[in-house]
Amino acid sequence: MLSDEILRVENLYVSVEGTPILKGLSLTIHRGEIHAIMGRNGAGKSTLANVVMGHPAYEITSGNIFYKGEPLEDLEVFQRARAGMFLSFQYPAVIPGVQVGTFLKKSVASVRDDPPKGRAFRKELTAAMEKLSMDKSFLSRYVNDGFSGGEKKRLEILQMLLLQPHLALLDETDSGLDIDALRIVAQGINEVAADSACLIITHYQRLLDLVKPHYVHAMMDGAIVRTGGPELALELEDRGYDWLEVTA
């Protein structure tokens, strides 16, 4: 149904500092769908996530991105966030001196339409942290400052739970996680994915064992070269990407 369309990328070409990265990528995601994008390093997977979120370093040379049927180009990054878009970063930035608790509260207040306040917020926060097996001491630490890889990813997922996005872009959220952490993170993703559109960028099958994608896309040289169901992920894991080059 058209009304459930969240993201539509049409024949997108993107360059970074004059170098073309995305070359005619198209993709549509509806509410309730989980899409996974797999591909080698340098295929343009992270570029796709960043350009959808509005990173200023990426230049769209042609093509369009629509969010809920509206063109995205005029929306600034923070407006995209306030409209319900979320990117879980592969390498989240460190913000020294800003406590996680303050940061989360302010972020929720700017993004959510009717943000929980005071006790309601604390209750929601505590519940979300429990789900992710995060200790309360996280809240008084500075955002990503001195965090291990796993802690950073958990904080990303915690933000996703609290911000309740309509579109979640997860950029290699599984990398650097041990199996227990992966399970916890996957739980978080599944919870949000049930009611939103979700795009998972990954190198590995193992996250997709825990978060079942409806569609799997193989990406090569800036475009999607094959789309299938969960079985495609298994095939890519098994055979690599070379066979696609031959058939593409």
């Binding site: 979120m53 509005g54 990173h55 200023p56 370093a57 600034e76 990054v77 923070f78 995209r80 966030a81 306030r82 979320f86 990117l87 970063f89 390498y91 989240p92 930035a93 460190v94 913000i95 020294p96 001196g97 800003v98 940061f103 302010k106 972020s107 700017s110 993004v111 500075y142 955002v143 933000q159 911000l163």
Partner: protein
């Protein structure tokens, strides 16, 4: 408001001024007669008059500093300054007795409210003298003396005579000479042996008149084993002509005493703020300077500690924000003069909109000071291409047993930080505000809560309308 005025005032919310109702106002300009007149008007003992005159003569002979921001310093027109202005004939003990317009000003600055909530005592200085002063009865009963400096000299001349100018002699620098010559107002605080003052005491300094010179003089003595936290704030109206604030602050921490002195200086951007602050720490005493510089046109201020007694400790945490047209030349000086003394210096500065911040530090370790430890950390954050930050650290190390650390960094806000924060719903200005507040956090967390909240708001305001 004209564009020019807006340019000068900007978002500075303390830039309002009252009509000037002075009871005594000296003509502009400085001479030996002006110095003698101030002393006579205040009915001072002869020895104080003599100190003033001696200091004045030194001031006249002393050349301007040939470091810091010389071009701005040389623009000071000492003949265009009002050196004494009395706006109320008495220092009142009740806000109700303070003249209405002055009381309104302090209401707008939130002083009476803060006093009721969390302060142990308050001095409010308006122009040259204190207009309001009070201290909680329980502190008075414990023998704590908290007075404006003029009353301190009247009521406790022997204590003042004993300590005045012993930490900062008039000949220390040109501006300490000026202050000693024309000083008026400031705080006199004495904490008896073993008394711990739990609630901070506060002084608030307000300049109202144009081309005003404010020269408060503060002397704090913490007797053996006592402790106190003294807080000061300062603001002034925004005028297109300059005002001069030149204070001298002397602290004496006796054996085992602890003094914390916190400042949030938010002068309007037409004020020269040239202040000398120095402390002596005796055996096992601790002195902490928590020094925030947000306002003024040019600030030159380097809170110092002389670690005179064995085991004494100094802590200096300072931040400076230099916006458009501002130069914050700040830092810290610590002199390790006795064995096993320790010090920590943390300095953080932000430059924005063409502003300039300089860190100027001195760490001295004398041969006597064996087994001392010191750590100095300087971080600068530069928000745009037009702004500037410099570091001038000096170390004089006189023995090889000292354990010293020095770290310095200069950073910019990264695009990755901005993109990350914006992807979490913060506008670019809000994101900058968060980053800036985070950068100052090690300072802010040392302030009383009310000050910290106010400072954070202030910095967020500074980030507004700044991104094109």
């Amino acid at each position: 408001m004209s564009d020019d005025a807006q340019e000068i005032i900007g978002d500075y919310k303390y830039g309002f001024h009252d009509p000037e109702n002075s009871t005594i106002r000296f003509d502009k300009g400085l001479s030996e007669q002006v110095v003698r007149d101030i002393s006579e008007l205040k009915n001072e003992p002869q020895w104080m008059t003599d100190i003033r005159v001696k200091a004045y003569r030194h001031f006249v002979e002393r050349v301007m500093p040939e470091w810091g921001n010389c071009s701005l310093l040389n623009m000071i027109d000492f003949e265009n300054v009002t050196y004494f202005l009395r706006s109320s004939n008495k220092t009142e003990k009740s806000w109700d007795d303070v003249p209405d317009d002055i009381k309104n000003t302090f209401d707008r600055l939130g002083i009476p409210e803060a006093e009721q909530k969390w302060l142990g005592g308050v001095t409010a200085q308006y122009e040259s003298e204190a207009v309001y002063h009070s201290i909680r009865e329980d502190l008075e009963e414990q023998g704590v003396i908290f007075l404006d400096m003029d009353s301190g000299l009247k009521q406790y001349p022997e204590i003042v005579k004993k300590y005045f100018g012993t930490v900062i002699p008039h000949s220390d620098n040109k501006f300490s000479a000026l202050n000693t010559a024309v000083w008026s107002g400031g705080s006199f605080l004495y904490i008896p042996k073993g008394v711990h003052v739990e609630m901070p005491v506060q002084a608030y300094f307000r300049i109202n008149a144009k081309n005003m010179g404010q020269f408060e003089r503060t002397l704090i003595i913490a007797d053996e084993g006592s402790s106190v936290h003294y807080v000061e704030g300062c603001t002034a109206p925004s005028y297109s002509t300059d005002s001069l604030h030149s204070a001298v602050v002397e602290l004496i921490a006796m054996d085992g005493a602890k003094i914390r002195y916190s400042t949030v200086q938010n002068w309007s951007s037409n004020v020269y703020n040239l202040v000398t602050k120095r402390a002596v720490a005796h055996r096992n005493a601790t002195v902490e300077w928590v020094d925030g510089n947000i306002g003024s046109k040019l600030t030159m201020k380097y809170p110092s500690v002389l670690l005179k007694g064995e085991g004494a400790h100094a802590e200096v945490i300072s931040v400076a924000y230099a916006g458009k047209g501002q130069h914050q030349d700040t830092g810290a000086k610590v002199h390790h003069l006795a064995p096993n003394t320790t010090s920590n210096i943390l300095s953080k500065s932000i430059s924005k909109g063409g502003g300039r911040s300089s860190y100027r530090g001195l760490l001295q370790v004398t041969p006597k000071s064996t087994g001392c430890r010191s750590k100095v950390v300087c971080d600068a954050l530069i928000l745009d291409e037009d702004s500037r930050s410099d570091t001038y650290p000096t170390m004089e190390i006189g023995n090889s047993t000292a354990d010293l650390e020095h770290e310095a960094s200069v950073s910019k806000v990264s695009n990755d930080q901005l993109f990350y924060l914006m992807s979490r719903g913060f506008s670019e200005e809000e994101a900058m505000g968060l980053i800036v507040n985070g950068f100052f956090e090690p300072f802010t967390r040392e302030l009383p809560m009310e000050y910290a909240v106010e400072l954070n708001k202030l910095l967020e305001l500074e980030m507004e309308g700044s991104i094109g």
